[in-house]
Symmetry: C2
Subunit: 282 residues, 2 copies
């Protein structure tokens, strides 16, 4: 079925802003999947279609949904992907770089001409085997979204607070460390903000939840508008963005794949945002 | 060195109220440890001294402090412990039952004559091997403090929200599920409250942190005064109690054993309470 980081990120962000995506699919990519993305107002000009099969992943989750094992990863047309930005994208102020080879992320960022807030995601493979390339890439980022085990790997620190301090020295002025069902922590030099994970009564399918977090985070910020300098960013907006990210990640888990986003409304999103307030206020 | 649940609970609670403890030690129990408890205003009338050796535990923690392995447990004089409440204790309104055999917890509760708020802790051993006895015991409790894996074991539910709903049907109207470094969740029939774990830059020794949570929780409530009926309990006070519990648990980890409580002040406690506000407000 339809999946992939770009899909989840753009669907989640589409509830806040108009995303413009860059990606590649094969000639097997279904028209109904294109139609879903279009129906959410997502700009597909940067979506390349090339001969061959689309990237494919399959995995199996543990009973409590906290661990997963990859059964299959077929890169297919993704193996030779070199992101090319349409001219119309280059002046956009917000950039979220999905988890691909750091040098490709760096190339994409270099094509942008008026960035206010740029950053992205990475993973253990790039941290361990492409470390220098990754460090050169994130040195130019405003924000990094990363999960807790990867933050520890990247920093060499097993303590989250010390890990965050080291990562903030690598370039990004804003760091979000995702902790799965336990929520996320926003770190900046002047302090941190802790968002709990939403307690779902049933986790149907956690696939894509981290990407939806990213989509909600950047989508909310794009909808509000951020000044290009670190000092001018309102920390309260970043906190709200983390909560909206958590909200989108929680909705993602409620149905299989992207299905929850077929019916989700902005009113449901804001209700859940308010639930986060009710559940954390003291 | 000095340790044990009763020690940690009463030391933590002593920053909020005057605890009266019931327990047993052997003739090897050091006078300087008695003096520490006394210096914190803890009533030791219910502390029995009997011939033999004091309970002893030793363990080793994993590098990230999230797991521990027991090396030695010697019950010693604790093996034959039958708690007897001094007459002066029986009319007290607040009771926290440490983690011992459920039938003993039940006996202690039955000795109390004017309870406003009573409950306690339990563990996997009692849940799996003394289930009926445990269920009869907690049926009479106002609150249960338990960690997440034990909540799942007790309820037979792997989902935390569903586990909590089942446990609230077993008797307690107030349930706190502790999640170690990830904080705690307060569940009541009308909703829940999520407290993050304090992000320590260094976890020196987590031994006793869960007990200090319990001590801060009940100590704060005792200092405020609670009406005896469930309906009259102010949920905001319970939320604050969970935060004070988290605060006391976090201080516990900063030094070896009980050492942090030798110098801790109420001003430091309130500063950290306010830090929890700053770190969670949005």
């Amino acid at each position: 079925m339809l999946g992939g980081a770009c899909t989840y990120i753009s669907l989640a962000a589409s509830f806040f802003t108009k995303p413009h995506i860059v990606g590649v699919v094969g000639d097997d990519f279904a028209q109904e999947d294109v139609d879903l993305l279009s129906s959410r107002g997502i700009d597909l000009e940067g979506l390349e279609r090339v001969p061959g099969k689309t990237f494919f992943w399959a995995g199996v989750y543990s009973h409590d949904m906290n661990e997963r094992e990859t059964l299959t990863t077929e890169l297919n047309v993704f193996a030779d992907f070199k992101p090319k930005l349409p001219e119309s994208y280059r002046t956009k102020p917000y950039l979220l770089l999905g988890n691909i080879q750091p040098s490709l992320q760096k190339d994409v960022r270099a094509q942008m001409t008026g960035l206010h807030f740029a950053g992205g995601d990475t993973m253990n493979y790039w941290i361990s085997d492409y470390r220098n390339e990754l460090l050169a890439t994130i040195a130019e980022w405003d924000f990094l979204l990363i999960n807790d085990s990867e933050a520890k790997m990247l920093s060499g620190e097993s303590n989250l607070r010390r890990a965050a301090a080291k990562i903030l020295d690598m370039g990004p002025h804003t760091l979000v460390i995702k902790r799965g069902e336990f929520g996320a922590v926003l770190f900046r030099r002047k302090g941190h903000f802790m968002a709990p994970g939403y307690l779902l009564a049933e986790v149907f399918d956690p696939t894509g939840a981290g990407d939806c977090f990213a989509g909600g985070f950047i989508g909310y910020l794009a909808s509000r508008g951020l000044e290009p300098q670190d000092e001018k960013i309102d920390p309260a907006e970043l906190r709200r963005a983390v909560i909206y990210g958590s909200v989108m990640g929680s909705f993602c888990c409620e149905k299989f794949g992207v299905d929850r986003f077929r019916t989700l409304t902005r009113a449901e999103i804001d209700d859940r945002y308010n639930e986060f307030k009710t559940c954390t206020d003291f």
